[in-house]
Amino acid sequence: MAATDNTQNPAMEREGALTRFLRATEIDSRMLGMLGALLVIWVGFDLASAIVRGGDGLLGGTFLTPRNLWILLVQTSSIAVMTTGMVLIIVMRHIDLSVGSVLGFTAVCIGTMQVYWLGPALGVGHPAIWIITLILGLALGAAIGALHGTLIAYFGIPSFIVTLGGLIVWRGAAWSVIRGETVAPMDKNFKLIGGGISGITPGSIGATASWILGLIICAAIVALIYLGRQQRKRFNFTLKPVWAEVLLAVVGCAAVVGITWVLNAYYWPKGVVDRWALQTGAVVPPEGLNISFGYSIPVLIALFVGIAMTFVANRTRFGRYVYAIGGNPEAAELAGINTKKITLMVFSLMGMLAAISASISSARLDSATNALGQFDELYVIAAAVIGGTSLAGGLGTIYGAMLGALVMQSLQSGMTLLNFESATKDMVVGCVLVFAVFVDQVYQRRVK
């Protein structure tokens, strides 16, 4: 620390400690703000629920319990997956209002294939069913997105109109496929995608695998920081101070360990343990058996999608072009970028992500209805915007949007715990969206 204190530049001294800290660590101040907001929401709900009812949460409530946090993450995953695509769409100055309907339509198609076609044809529970229907579902979502993208890019119809049409059309199509009936139950392997327990097979990976995964992620964080530093050294660029790099690595790893610990602290309910003991012949000691859930499959899917989409956005040409087009479409065109093709690809990607969320949602509910995913488009857009994506285009991050999804879901879950009516919840969430954007704009103006 002492070395950084001899500032030669008087302007540097005038900067606040926080500014200097953010500059050294290159942390996005908006992300800190979001994490702060999340903390306030979580603490607030735990305290509020402590007053209402009391529980075994961190602060005496029912919010900061392993069970609630585990469920919170599972509930976030569907919106979180879709919002990663919505970021790219909004960055490109487009919008996709159809994602909820596309989710519903692909879900009923997946359900129909499982229950009415492949189930009878291959035998119910056949191990190929989940993979075939998942692949076909993703292909269907991508094809729908490609259709939207073609109309927008090559026919010049505004994305707002195309996807508003899509919102109506695909919801109707979902109804037509199943005539308003509920398709259930989903394939027993497919069901695990939702994170629930199918028979005695949990849709999560358990304590040991969770710890291994956590350690791998920690190692990856350290390796990324180290390799980035080596790379910059090789080209003689200025380096972040060592303390900043170490701090980032430590905080990152601590967060991963903490999350892993919490998810592992949520145990199978007693009924499932008994059923499991009965079927496997295991002996349950009289004081009960703690079998951890650990990372659930939908959360792992969301995590994987988040990492993959961050990679796509930051490390590939495609991602670079998406941002460049959002910053200045004319300049991108003049630089020789095929902006139409990129537009088509982004919408196709969005469709595929909606299909992933369709799988998560229908697997979680163990059924598909034509109403599945209704209003999801609004939550997905809201998550992206709360996460710092600018509707003017050119600005937005994947992790920000995913954090935005977590903030929204935290509000919803917390209010549910406090027994708010769903109408009240809707009103609060709507107000929070407007307020978040207002705060962000005030902040942006002050930064300039």
Partner: protein, 278 residues
């Protein structure tokens, strides 16, 4: 390289051994009812600087945007080294070695200087991912030549000053071994010192055999740097002259009144009475 034979009193084309590097022949384009460019012809030889002059709205930017692939012409031909080429988009033009500094600079404001420098032709690692560090290293080198005081490599170009943004646009045009360089008002946002620097750069590029179209509102710049000049008015070419064959006042007459002096070859936009009087 062509040798320039001086001392011609008559406005005849200098005989040259090779066809022009670029020839734009009888180019027209209309937006709605407006004929932005109307049967214009210009050409350019290797190692030559041709100044394009004219009032705002004369059609200069539109003409060169046809060459750079930004607009598709309604009529006319483009020839490179005597062979017709088909330029239908900016990629075609770049593939032919035509680089452009647009009047609007055409930068993606939300990404940094290196990303703009390499926009559309990013360096990649052997895994196919963006090699941002290598791009930044190259960018530091190029910008070091053009604008030694430039340090803001990490910021989106939106945060840069007008002159810095212009340096980024210039860097992008000269970094990829252009054969033909189009500069649309390249010094508009620059101070006197930076303008002089761009002048030096143009001389250096010219010495390397690159052909340059230089659009400028400053007649003095054009006389200093250009070998020939073409004046446009209302989308049409008033005339083309070697800078040694005309003087400032004559060129002002071309720009303002469309009057083609005896030292210039008249184009379709020249005042009829002027050519009759000559």
């Amino acid at each position: 390289m062509t040798t320039h034979t001086h001392g011609h009193k008559h406005p005849t084309e200098v005989p040259r051994s090779s066809p022009p590097l670029i020839e734009m022949r009888d180019i027209s384009i209309a937006f709605g009812g407006i004929k932005a460019v109307d049967h214009a012809s210009v050409n350019l030889y290797p190692g030559e600087v041709v100044g394009l002059l004219g009032h705002n709205g004369a059609g200069k930017s539109t003409l060169i945007k046809i060459l750079s692939g930004a607009y598709k012409r309604d009529h006319g031909d483009i020839l490179i080294n005597g062979a017709k080429v088909d330029i239908t988009n900016p990629r075609d033009a770049k593939a032919l070695g035509i680089e452009t500094i647009y009047q609007t600079l055409a930068l993606a404001d939300n990404v940094d200087a290196a990303a703009n420098l390499y926009l559309g032709r990013e360096l990649r690692t052997r895994w196919g991912t963006l090699d941002d560090v290598a791009m930044e290293a190259e960018c530091r080198q190029v910008m070091g030549r053009l604008n030694p005081n430039f340090r803001r490599f990490k910021e989106p170009v939106k945060a840069l000053s007008g002159g810095q943004r212009q340096s980024v646009a210039i860097a992008r045009a000269i970094h990829f071994n252009a054969r033909i360089l189009i500069m649309d008002e390249p010094t508009a946002a620059l101070g006197p010192q930076e303008t002089a620097q761009v002048g030096e750069l143009i001389k250096q590029l010219k010495a390397e055999g690159i052909g340059i179209f230089l659009i400028s509102h400053d007649i003095h710049d054009v006389f200093d740097l250009a070998d020939r000049l073409t004046v446009m008015k209302n989308g049409r070419v008033v005339g083309t002259a070697r800078t040694t064959d005309v003087d400032h006042d004559e060129v002002l007459g071309m720009i303002i009144a469309g009057k083609c002096p005896p030292g210039a070859i008249p184009g379709p936009g020249a005042l009829q009475t002027a050519s009759a009087a000559a």
